[in-house]
């Protein structure tokens, strides 16, 4: 059969058995694939995607709006990769989905929300279509200075720079790090989008440009160590930049904060609160950073840390990954990931959902409002919780 299209891993797409293990967490308590949970069709599950991609490569189905929606509804949470029972190819599942999206980009047949995201990044440098000059405004009043050879570059990312919820989180992280005496600076209005979502959405040309510009800039500035606000940035800096010549020591802010607390450079007072922690996919499953955020919370006298049923490797995504934070293909129905997740948090009896990712902060804050839980649940960044404890 003539192949009209091709992707790098085309030769293994047929090996999916569509058994459905990929839909679940380890203990099978509920569906753990956000797009399958939201849409309810097998076609929107990882196995469904694998079978449809094979059909599409063989020209048994055509490129269509629905096919694009099916591909782009994937939140790249990596649950499927961890739960698939086929060790010889499970690691390639996310790459296969990404490669298929890249092929769609090449065909110019992508959902309007994805197109608009790419256009905004390409023309404005950020998905909010706001001026580059405003990128550093979030830091006003924090005392953070422009990067000029300090030990760390504090990279904030698009959500932390422009989104109100993200900015709040960025400011608190910046304040706490500075307060602990860490030597760090920011790029401010010169910061460039990290490109993690651009890559996962399949615009490889734009990604190469963003990554290249960042690497060149970091090198020119003499950056050696980067601390990121956003686990998405952490992911792309650690996994994709080295292959493009960008080798930096990259840390998530929770790793640094946990270390500073251990070194007693952050003094914590008591703060009585029942807190549950939501694992961001790009911090947890993608980069296996589960301990530091929990260590921070456990270090606060009075904090009762309670786990949601699905946590760590089995955590349910907030629905914001894979570019869905911007494209909103998953929607906001009752089975949308954020709403399901805050109800799971509510079941723990916690009053606070601690978050370590600005996208999660925004998604879960919106979900709390949609579920009318504002009087029962508060979504707070880890550094914001530290600040509350420090003030007591």
């Amino acid at each position: 059969m003539t192949q009209l299209r091709n992707i790098e891993h085309a030769e293994i797409v047929h090996r999916c058995f569509r058994c459905g293990y990929c839909k679940f967490p380890e203990d099978y308590i509920d569906f753990n694939c956000p797009s399958y949970k939201a849409f309810g069709w097998d076609t929107y599950s990882p196995g469904g995607r694998m079978w449809l991609i094979r059909a599409w490569l063989n020209d048994e189905i055509k490129t269509s709006e629905r096919f694009a929606e099916i591909l782009y509804s994937c939140v790249a949470c990596d649950n499927c990769k961890n739960q698939c029972v086929f060790p010889k190819f499970k690691d390639f599942l996310p790459e296969i989905f990404q490669e298929a999206k890249a092929e769609l980009v090449g065909e110019g047949k992508i959902p309007p929300g994805v197109r608009d995201y790419f256009k905004a990044i390409a023309t404005n440098g950020n998905p909010y279509k706001l001026p580059q000059s405003e990128r550093g405004k979030w830091a006003e009043g924090t005392g953070l200075q422009k990067y000029a050879g300090q030990d760390y570059l504090f990279y904030v990312g698009c959500v932390g720079s422009y989104d109100e919820v993200g900015q709040k989180m960025a400011r608190s992280v910046g304040r706490v790090l500075l307060g602990a005496g860490l030597s760090l600076g920011i790029s401010g209005s010169e910061e460039i989008c990290d490109g993690n979502e651009v890559r996962i959405l399949g615009e490889m040309g734009l990604f190469a440009k963003l990554a290249g510009d960042n690497i060149e800039k970091f090198k020119a500035q003499g950056v050696k160590k980067i601390v990121t606000l956003d686990p998405h940035a952490l992911n792309v800096f650690k996994k994709d930049y080295p292959g493009l010549g960008g080798n930096f020591q990259v840390f998530h802010f929770t790793e640094i904060l946990a270390r500073l607390i251990k070194e007693k450079k952050i003094s914590l007072g008591p703060y009585a609160a029942k807190i549950t922690y939501h694992d961001p996919c790009y911090l947890g499953r993608h980069n296996q950073i589960y301990g530091p955020p929990r260590d921070i919370l456990k270090a606060i006298d009075g904090v009762e840390l309670v786990e949601m049923h699905r946590n760590a490797l089995n955590a349910f995504c907030c629905g914001g990954g894979g570019g869905n934070f911007f494209t909103d293909i998953l929607g906001t129905g009752e089975d949308s990931a954020g709403r399901v997740r805050v109800l799971e948090a509510l079941e723990t009896g916690a009053r606070i959902i601690a978050v370590a990712c600005p996208s999660c902060a925004k998604m879960l804050s919106d979900a709390v409002k949609m579920e009318n839980l504002e009087d029962k649940l508060e979504v707070l960044g880890i550094a914001e919780i530290i600040e509350r404890a420090a003030k007591k």
Binding site: H14, R15, C16, F17, R18, C19, G20, Y21, K23, F24, D27, Y28, I29, D30, F39, G40, W41, D42, T43, G48, W51, L52, A55, E60, I61, K62, S64, R66, F67, I70, V85, F86, P87, K88, F89, H309, G333
Partner: protein, 460 residues
């Protein structure tokens, strides 16, 4: 937009129905080797009332309806052989009740095995159900509808024997309850002491109605599970070994398996013996009983116990993920099996047939037999893996399976979850009186012939 599509959208909403090429393509096939057939619509109801309205519409318009769980029978039982509506039941997935003291659960028709297992583990750790080794997304209603088996089948019979009541949407769109729930709020009996109407639906593969609710027996979940593995290279001894083991009346599950790969398994027959207990003493006692029972085979140098430590985790896992892994042995994403139910003393003949068929058709085999009802019979799985990118291999597997079914029927066995061709073979061999009774039932329950047509077509 067609009138049918409009009507379906009125019933389930726009997100509950699809005739998009993507869903039509996907729901036209299962992971086995049978040829796909396209449905006209895929519909995902959330309530019994929606199922009822869909069936009423289908009955009025004479449209086929094919109820589907996770579609993992592998024998094409959810392939819409005559088009129509595929009814994806998985959005009806609520656990409605667990009666802890009476040890039963009531579930919606699309509830998955995995979700029930996890629910019991979290809320009722002292209870369990007879979990099959099929993937966790498979549904409980589909499993009982095809007389499935599970971990407790050796002790308590087919999983369909564990049904304690049902709610059914009949092919005419009426709803009825079967068993004790037809008289009151309790779901403890599917029949006795009433006429057992459950037999009108169990084993009929969705051709006589749609299970929208099912009651299921639960069982004590002992604190400790353990396993022993007895190995022999003398296939003729297997029936005796199984007879002695089932005589103990204390084993959770017994499986016999053999396969040519990895090579360390070639030529041997492995008897996996599961037992449970609440204390270490109970486990030690049962282990001793198992060892004592099989000592004579060890003394005769006909077999021995194999160290299981390195694969104990895999053997005790429920469901066993490694079973699905067989699909990737030929790097190809598929396997299918014929699983006749047969008497245990025929094990050697079936084992020889598997090897013969694998050689004849040049395909890779793996075989496993599970004891049913303490040795009354067994499910003998004749499994062949295939590469989905190799149509010739898939055809060879299909021919091998056809021949396996013919062999099983010749041996007096009953095909399990037979595909539509195997059903025809079965009905040709069936005693005419039994076939006539099936015809009468089908004709009366499904006068329009809309329920999963092409399957159990006794009237054709």
């Amino acid at each position: 937009m067609s009138d049918i599509l409009k009507s379906l959208i009125e019933i389930v909403g726009e997100r509950g129905v699809s005739n998009a090429p993507e869903e039509i393509w996907y729901y036209s096939r299962d992971p086995g080797v049978l040829t796909p057939r396209k449905p006209d619509y895929v519909v995902a109801p959330k309530t019994t009332e929606q199922v009822q309205k869909i069936v009423q519409l289908a009955c009025r318009e004479k449209i086929p309806v094919v109820p589907m769980g996770n579609g993992m029978s592998l024998t094409g039982l959810v392939i819409p052989l005559k088009g129509g509506i595929v009814l994806d039941m998985k959005r009806m997935n609520q656990i409605l009740e667990v009666n802890s003291k009476a040890r039963y659960a009531v579930l919606e028709g699309g509830t998955s095995q995995g979700v029930l297992k996890a629910h019991l583990q979290e809320h009722y750790p002292h209870l369990r159900h007879s979990l099959p080794d099929a993937p966790p997304a498979t549904t409980i209603a589909a499993n009982v509808a095809l007389h499935g088996q599970g971990r407790l089948t050796n002790q308590y019979g087919f999983n369909s024997d564990m049904v304690t009541g049902m709610e059914i949407v009949l092919p005419t769109g009426e709803v009825c309850k079967i068993g004790s729930p037809s008289l009151g709020p309790y779901w403890f009996s599917k029949g006795p002491t009433l006429p057992d109407l459950s037999g009108l639906f169990l084993g009929w593969l969705g051709t006589t109605g749609i299970i929208t609710k099912v009651g299921l027996k639960l069982f004590p979940n002992k604190k400790i599970r353990d396993v022993e593995l007895f190995v022999t290279d003398r296939v003729e001894l297997i029936p005796d070994i199984l007879y002695k083991l089932t005589h103990l009346e204390m084993l959770e599950d017994i499986n016999v398996w053999f396969q040519p790969k990895p090579l360390m398994f070639l030529g041997n027959f492995h008897v996996t013996i599961y037992f449970t207990g609440d204390t270490d003493e109970e486990i030690a006692f049962k282990r001793k009983m198992v060892w004592d029972t099989l000592q004579e085979f060890i003394d005769a140098k006909d077999g021995g116990f194999m160290a299981v430590q390195y694969m104990k985790g895999m053997l005790l896992e429920m469901p066993q993920r490694a079973i699905a892994d067989f699909a990737d042995v030929p790097k190809g994403g598929g396997f299918e099996y014929s699983g006749p139910i047969t008497i245990v003393e025929h094990f050697p003949q079936y084992a020889a047939k598997v090897v013969e068929l694998a050689k004849k058709y040049d395909v890779l085999y793996a075989s496993s037999a599970r004891m049913i009802s303490g040795g009354l019979c067994m499910m003998f799985s004749i499994s062949f893996a295939f590469n989905r990118n190799d149509p010739a291999m898939m055809t060879r597997v299909k021919h091998a399976l056809d021949e396996a079914t013919a062999f099983a029927l010749d041996m007096g066995g009953i095909p399990w979850k037979p595909n539509f061709m195997e059903q025809k073979m079965t009905m040709q061999k069936m005693e005419p009186g039994a076939l006539k009774l099936m015809q009468m039932i089908k004709k009366n329950l499904d006068p329009q012939g809309i329920m999963n047509p092409g399957n159990w077509e006794v009237n054709s």
